[in-house]
Point group: C2
C-alpha cells in the first residue's frame, strides 16, 4: 500500500501543507462535535479494530518481515508486533476513553464581579495536534482516541518501520469517524515514509497548534530544536528516591526496591538512590542485597562503597556522569548525603525534573521535600513508578511532560485542551 | 548612569549569560520564599518608590529630554512621562499585588486513588521569566511585582528611551528586596540599551523559562520568530460585537457603543461590528448616528452603505483588508450578515481570537456563540472592554494572551505559574 502511495507523493511540502489545512478545517467540526458523537466514533473504531484483527496482523506481518530484513533489534521487533492481545488492548483503550468525562465545554469558576458581569473559564480544544512517534503501532489508536475525545484534529506521523500497521489502523479509524458522521480528516496518518515529512510538519505553525513527540531522547531533542510549532516535550527520567534518617525501614526497602526493579525501561524508574548518612547503615546493606539478588548492578559514592564492603557486596565506583545518566537498565547509582538539604540540592542539580520520592516519617521534612523539589511529580512514601496517567486517575495519557509551560507531568485529556474566558452579562458596559 | 554602564558592558553575550545564571540562582530563593517575605518586599518597594518620587522624576526628565531631542512622537512622550499620579499608582499597584492570595504551594484536587496513594497538584513558579517591553516605565514595577509574588525571578528589558527611569525604579526594587532579605537578582533590569541584549536574552533557553513581550505587533512578531525560549504572546485585538436579530435594542446600543468608544487605543476595543440582516434596520441607523456624533469614521459593506444612505450617514466602502485591521482609532468597520452562523464564520476567519461579544436575548444562540467562537474571551450582552485582568478578578495582569498553550486571555498570577503533581503515600508500591 505504502509503495503505491509513495509514488504519488512527490512534493512533500505541498502534501504536508494540504494535510495541515485539512486538519485545521476538520478541527472546527470535531471542536463542536457532541459528546455522544465523539463517543460513538471511539466505540466504532474499537469495534472495527477487533473486526479487522486479521487485516491488522497481515499488515503488521509486512512490517515485521521488512524489519527483520533491515536487521531491526529484537526489542524493536517486539514493540512493533501486533498480537491478538495487543489488538484487543487497543480496542479496550479506545472504549475506556469513550467512558471518560468529556472535558470540552466544561465551565469553571463562573462568578459575579462587582460590575455585574459573570466571568468563568470554558475548557476548549487546542485545535490541531501533531504527534511524532516511533515503532509501537498502538500509539496510532491511543493518540487518535485522546485527541478525538478532547475535540482536536490530529496529524499522526509514526515510524517508517510501522507504516503498514499504522495505515491499517488508520483505515479502522477512518471507518469509525464515518460511522459517527465526523470528517475523515479529524485523524490523518501521514502516508509517506519520507523523513522530509517530519521537517515539513514542524514548519506548519499556521495549521498546527502543538507538536507532541514520543520516542527516544535524540528524536525529541531534534524535534524541539527544529520545530517552529510549540512542543510539549517528554525528555528523560532521571528519577530519585531519598531515604531520610527518619524513614520507616520497611517502607524504605519496599519503595526503593519497587522504584528500581518493577520495570527497568520506563521513564519513571529510579536511577539514583540517595540516603541520609544516618539511615545508610540501618537500611543500605539489606537493600543492596535485594538489588544484587535481583541482578541490579550497583555504582556508589565512596561512602557507599565503604559501607557495603563490610557486607561483601560489590559496588562499582560511581563516576560524575552516573548522576546524570538514565540507565533504563538494571543499573543503580547510590549516594550517601548529609541530610535532606543535600539531597534536595543533588536532585535539583542532576534530576531531569521527572519524578522524585522521599521516604520519611517526619512531617516537616515531607512538607519541605514537596515544596522544594522542582520536578513534575514529587512523592512521599510512594514508588516513583506511580508517576503515570492511569495511576493518577487521568484515565489515559499521551505522555509525561517534563516541561513547565502548559502541561507538566502525565498529560491526559485536559493537557490537550485550553481554557477560554466566558463572560455573561445583561448589557453591562465599562465605565 | 547608563552611559557609564554602557562602557562597562562590552561583551553583551557574556553579560546576558551572567544575568541568566544569576536569575536561575535567585529563582530558587524566591520560589521557596514565604508569603510574608514576598509581601514585605512588595510593600517595601512601594514605600521606596513613593520616598524616591523626586529621584524618579529627575531620572525620567533625562529620558524625556533625550526623547524630545530624538523627536519622539507626543503620544510616546506621554506614555514615557512619570507624573506624581503615575508614581503613586505604581506604588498602589504593588500594594494591591501584596494583598492578593499567594498562588504558590496551593494544592488542589488531592484525592485518594484505588492504589491507596493520594494524588493532587501543587501550584509552583515557572522559574525565570524574561519580559521585553516598550516605553511605559510603570511596567518595570508592575511586572516585577507580579513575578515576585508568583515566586519567579525576572529579567526585565525595557525600551532604551526609558532607560534612566527604569534604572531608578530598579534601584527602588533592589532596596525593597533587600529589606525583606531576598536576593537582589530576583529582579534584574538590563542595564545596557544595546539591542543585541534582546537577541541574547532570546537565546537563554537554559536559564529562562518563558519570554513575555509587551508592545506593538512588530516587536512581538520579531521576538516570537527569533526566540529559542517559549513565548507567551499578546498579539493584536481585532474584536467583534455581533448584534443578533433577537437582540434587546437598548443593550445592543449600549454594548456596541461602549465596545468601540470607551477607549480607542486598547486591544479589547471592538474593530468590526456585525449585525444580523433583520436587526440592522431596527438598530443600525441610531447606532451609526451615535458613532458619527462621537467622531467615529464608519466603513461598511454594501448593505450597510445602502441602509445608512437613507439616514444620510456617510459610510465609506469597507475593503477586504478592513475586516482584518486593528484600527486602534475612531474607525469602525460594519458588516451585515445573514445570521449567527455567518457571524461566527466571519469571526473565526478574521478575528485575532482576542474578544468577541454577542448581543441577544435568545438562549440557544447565546450558548452556540459561547461554544463555537474560538477566542480568548467570548461574551454575551457585555462590552468587549471588560476583557481585562482587573475586571475578571485576577487582581492584576501582565498581558492578554492570544495564544492557546499555557495561558489564554488575561494573564494574572496563575498564568506565571505551573502545576506539579504531589503524591502522598504510606509506602505503596506498583504491582
Amino acid at each position: 500500500m505504502s509503495a503505491n502511495i509513495e509514488t504519488l507523493i512527490t512534493d512533500i511540502a505541498d502534501y504536508m501543507s494540504r494535510v495541515g489545512l485539512a486538519a485545521r478545517e476538520a478541527s472546527r467540526a470535531i471542536g463542536r462535535a457532541s459528546t455522544a458523537q465523539k463517543n460513538q466514533s471511539l466505540n466504532a473504531i474499537a469495534e472495527q479494530i477487533l473486526a479487522q484483527a486479521g487485516e491488522l496482523k497481515r499488515a503488521n506481518a509486512l512490517d515485521l518481515t521488512a524489519g527483520r530484513e533491515k536487521g531491526l533489534a529484537e526489542a524493536l521487533l517486539d514493540r512493533l508486533e501486533l498480537t491478538d492481545e495487543r489488538i484487543a488492548s487497543m480496542a479496550e483503550g479506545l472504549r475506556q476513553i469513550a467512558t471518560l468525562p468529556d472535558p470540552i465545554g466544561v465551565i469553571s469558576n463562573l462568578a459575579y464581579r462587582p460590575s455585574g458581569i459573570q466571568v468563568g473559564q470554558m475548557r476548549v480544544p487546542l485545535g490541531v495536534i501533531g504527534i511524532i512517534y516511533e515503532s509501537r503501532p498502538n500509539v496510532t489508536a491511543d493518540a487518535a482516541g485522546l485527541c478525538l475525545k478532547s475535540g482536536n484534529a490530529v496529524i499522526l506521523r509514526g515510524g517508517s518501520e510501522a507504516v503498514h500497521s499504522n495505515q491499517a489502523i488508520a483505515a479502522c479509524i477512518k471507518h469509525g469517524l464515518e460511522v459517527a458522521g465526523l470528517p475523515a480528516d479529524v485523524v490523518q496518518v501521514i502516508e509517506t515514509t519520507d523523513r522530509a515529512a517530519v521537517g515539513e510538519l514542524l514548519r506548519l505553525k499556521d495549521s498546527v497548534d502543538v507538536i507532541i513527540p514520543r520516542g527516544g531522547k535524540s528524536l525529541i531533542e531534534r524535534i524541539t530544536n527544529e520545530s517552529e510549532v510549540p512542543v510539549i516535550k517528554h525528555l528523560d527520567g532521571i528519577c530519585h528516591v531519598y531515604i531520610d534518617d527518619e524513614a520507616d525501614r520497611e517502607k524504605a526497602l519496599n519503595v526503593a526496591f519497587n522504584s528500581k526493579t518493577q520495570r527497568y525501561g520506563t521513564c519513571n524508574t529510579m536511577e539514583t538512590l540517595l540516603l541520609a548518612a544516618s539511615a545508610a547503615a540501618r537500611i543500605l546493606p539489606d537493600l543492596a542485597k535485594m538489588y544484587v539478588e535481583k541482578g541490579v548492578e550497583l555504582r556508589g559514592c565512596e561512602n557507599t562503597q565503604a559501607l557495603l564492603k563490610d557486607s561483601n557486596i560489590a559496588v562499582l565506583a560511581a563516576e560524575e556522569e552516573d548522576w546524570s545518566t538514565e540507565y533504563l537498565a538494571p543499573v543503580l547509582s547510590i549516594k550517601i548525603v548529609e541530610d535532606i538539604d543535600a539531597a534536595i540540592s543533588h536532585i535539583n542539580k542532576y534530576s531531569s525534573q521527572h519524578t522524585e520520592s522521599i521516604v520519611t516519617e517526619n512531617y516537616t521534612k515531607s512538607r519541605q521535600f514537596l515544596r522544594e523539589v522542582d520536578s513534575s511529580s514529587v512523592m512521599v512514601n510512594a514508588s516513583t513508578r506511580f508517576a503515570d496517567g492511569f495511576e493518577y486517575g487521568l484515565g489515559a495519557e499521551i505522555g509525561i511532560s517534563t516541561d513547565k509551560l502548559h502541561a507538566r507531568g502525565p498529560v491526559g485529556l485536559d493537557g490537550l485542551t485550553s481554557m477560554k474566558y466566558v463572560v455573561l452579562g445583561d448589557g453591562q458596559v465599562r465605565q
